[in-house]
């Protein structure tokens, strides 16, 4: 019963655990910028692949194209040149196998918590009774039981994030695409959500691609980090984060290896993105 949305029958047939779940091959992206009155290169000859079950961070300053790449994986943007694949197949339409999380919590303010969490199930035509069950179960997992009937505006920022997380988990996704999901939170709350999310990731065996500009966040959570250079956006380095799991998100930042890795990432970022006085 729990696996009812995991995979379609078709992709089950060609399921191959050794094949990367996501890949980008020679991706370029250009778009017309009305301000500059010319085409801008957002991504330049970018290739990477994400293996099944991995926790990958895309790290870079704003405007480096990391969100554009994430949107390509979500099937919201098509690359101008090159191809992005999900389970080996080119992504040409919104990727409904992926759960997509944005920086703002993106809850529908006119829907109560339960209706927000149940939205992806509703869109997929899951019957109301089953929907209710799944929603109750997942709200329980994120510690929001009893808040089913609240409107998002009645919740704190942290609770809204949890609702967003519940909405991701309710479909049992293979793949979670996150665009700075813990951006606008205070440090303690952020650490708590980091810990909870890491636990959910290891329990469920999902693949996570995570966009961030925060070095510490990338080292705390990810198994591998792609460092982006901007203007035009491209990958500068790929760095393995060999810190063992399970990680204690509060303690790990004081370990020598953590410091070493975050230093290294910062150096890469600096080299890739020399400071340009602009604004």
């Amino acid at each position: 019963m729990t696996g009812f949305l995991r995979r379609s029958a078709q992709s089950d047939a060609e399921f191959d655990p050794s094949r990367p779940i996501l890949s980008a091959e020679g991706v370029h992206h250009w778009y017309y910028s009305p301000e500059r009155k010319s085409f801008v290169t957002a991504l330049e000859d970018l290739s990477l692949s994400v293996r099944r079950g991995a926790f990958v961070a895309l790290l870079g300053p704003s405007g480096c194209g990391k969100s554009t790449l994430l949107n390509m994986f979500a099937g919201l943007i098509a690359p101008s040149l090159g191809v992005v694949r999900y389970q080996g197949q080119a992504i040409t339409a919104p990727n409904t196998q992926a759960a997509y999380v944005t920086q703002n919590d993106s809850l529908l303010p006119w829907r109560r918590v339960a209706a927000n969490v149940g939205l992806p199930l509703e869109v997929r035509g899951v019957p109301a009774r089953e929907r209710e069950e799944r929603v109750a179960q997942v709200l329980n997992q994120v510690g929001l039981q009893g808040f089913e009937r609240a409107f998002p505006s009645e919740l704190s920022g942290g609770m809204r994030k949890r609702v967003g997380l519940a909405r991701v988990l309710v479909t049992n996704p293979n793949l979670v695409l996150m665009d700075e999901p813990f951006g606008a939170l205070d440090a303690q709350l952020r650490a708590r959500l980091h810990a909870e999310f890491l636990r959910l990731w290891s329990e469920r065996g999902m693949t996570v691609v995570f966009v961030t500009h925060d070095i510490d966040e990338a080292v705390t959570l990810a198994q591998e980090v792609y460092v982006f250079a901007s203007r035009p956006g491209r990958i500068r380095a790929r760095i393995d984060i060999d810190l063992p799991f399970p990680r204690d998100v509060e303690e790990i930042r004081y370990s020598a290896r953590f410091v070493e890795l975050s230093h290294r990432l910062r150096d890469e970022l600096r080299l890739a993105n020399p400071v340009i006085e602009e604004h």
Binding site: W110, L119, V123, F151
Partner: protein
């Protein structure tokens, strides 16, 4: 153990009784002052219109010739007569229906077009300059054209009303559709939602506030459209009633007609407000404590 600065008076058993009494008295006085103020507002609400009517009644025949301003008693008598002989019901229903049909038609077309142009960018670029050009026309200047096309009956009034309502509802709803956060739409797309799903689950609720503002604002304009049509050429309805009274130099009749028009606009406005209450509960609950 007595903390004299503490405001928590109710639950402290060993508090100085004199202090306690003083605080209790202060609390009662605060509440009483608030009540008195509320009462005065209510008295004012009733007195102000009464004073207005009284002044009108007094001034008429003393300061101003009643030929121009009539007086409240005569207007009330006239309304009563019209109510008895069926004039009000007949004309008001005529005007109300023209206004309501025009309102529904103009509102529906406005909303649908706003959804289309708000979401389909190339269509928007083609169509909207054209609409903007039309918008610059005073709608009432279209009356001669509508009379040539449709005669002087209900069709003309409904068309005029719907054109007036259309522009108001279109522009407000369009602003609402453009205001929908792209992140919400993208979210629904990644869930595999159809275009229809996106409109129904995101765009309409999100743009709803703008849409209802447009509808609410256009109610008096809808009545204006219907009444204006009747006033110029109609042979029935409240506008016609006004014109007949004017032709008879009957200011009492004109005032009575204006009051009926207010009631008609009030009726439509009430319906829109009720519909809005039903559909925007989430917003009401947020703003309720502030009120």
């Amino acid at each position: 153990m007595n903390d004299r600065t503490s405001p928590a008076t109710d639950s402290v058993p060993d508090q100085d009784p004199a202090l306690r009494a003083r605080i209790e008295q202060g609390r009662r006085e605060t509440i009483a002052a608030w009540r008195r103020q509320r009462q005065w507002v209510w008295v004012g609400k009733i007195l102000f219109p009464l004073a207005f009517l009284g002044l009108w009644q007094y001034a008429s025949d003393r300061w101003i010739d009643p030929f121009f301003v009539s007086n409240p008693v005569d207007v009330a008598i006239r309304l009563w007569e019209w109510l008895l002989d069926g004039t009000i019901v007949g004309t008001a229903i005529e005007t109300l229906l023209s206004a309501a049909y025009g309102f529904l038609l103009g509102g529906a077309v406005g909303i649908v077009l706003a959804l289309l142009l708000g979401r389909i960018f190339w269509l928007d670029e083609i169509i909207r300059p054209f609409l903007t050009a039309l918008y610059s026309l005073p709608r009432l200047a279209l009356v001669p054209l509508f009379i040539i096309w449709l005669g002087i009956g209900a069709a003309m009034k409904i068309t005029l009303t719907s054109v007036i309502v259309f522009f108001i509802v279109f522009y407000t709803t369009y602003a609402g559709v453009r205001d929908v956060p792209a992140s919400l739409i993208n979210l629904l797309r990644t869930m595999g939602a159809s275009r229809f799903d996106i409109v129904r689950k995101v765009i309409l609720p999100s743009a709803g506030v703008f849409m209802f503002t447009g509808l609410q604002v256009s109610v008096p304009y809808a009545v204006t459209g219907a009444v204006f049509g009747e006033l110029v050429v109609g042979s029935s309805g409240l506008g016609w009633l006004l014109r007949r009274s004017q032709n008879n130099l009957d200011s009492t009749g004109v005032f009575a007609g204006l009051i009926v028009i207010m009631c008609v606009a009030g009726a439509i406005s009430f319906c829109v407000t009720m519909l809005q209450r039903l559909t925007s509960k989430w917003r009401m609950e947020v703003s309720a404590p502030v009120m």
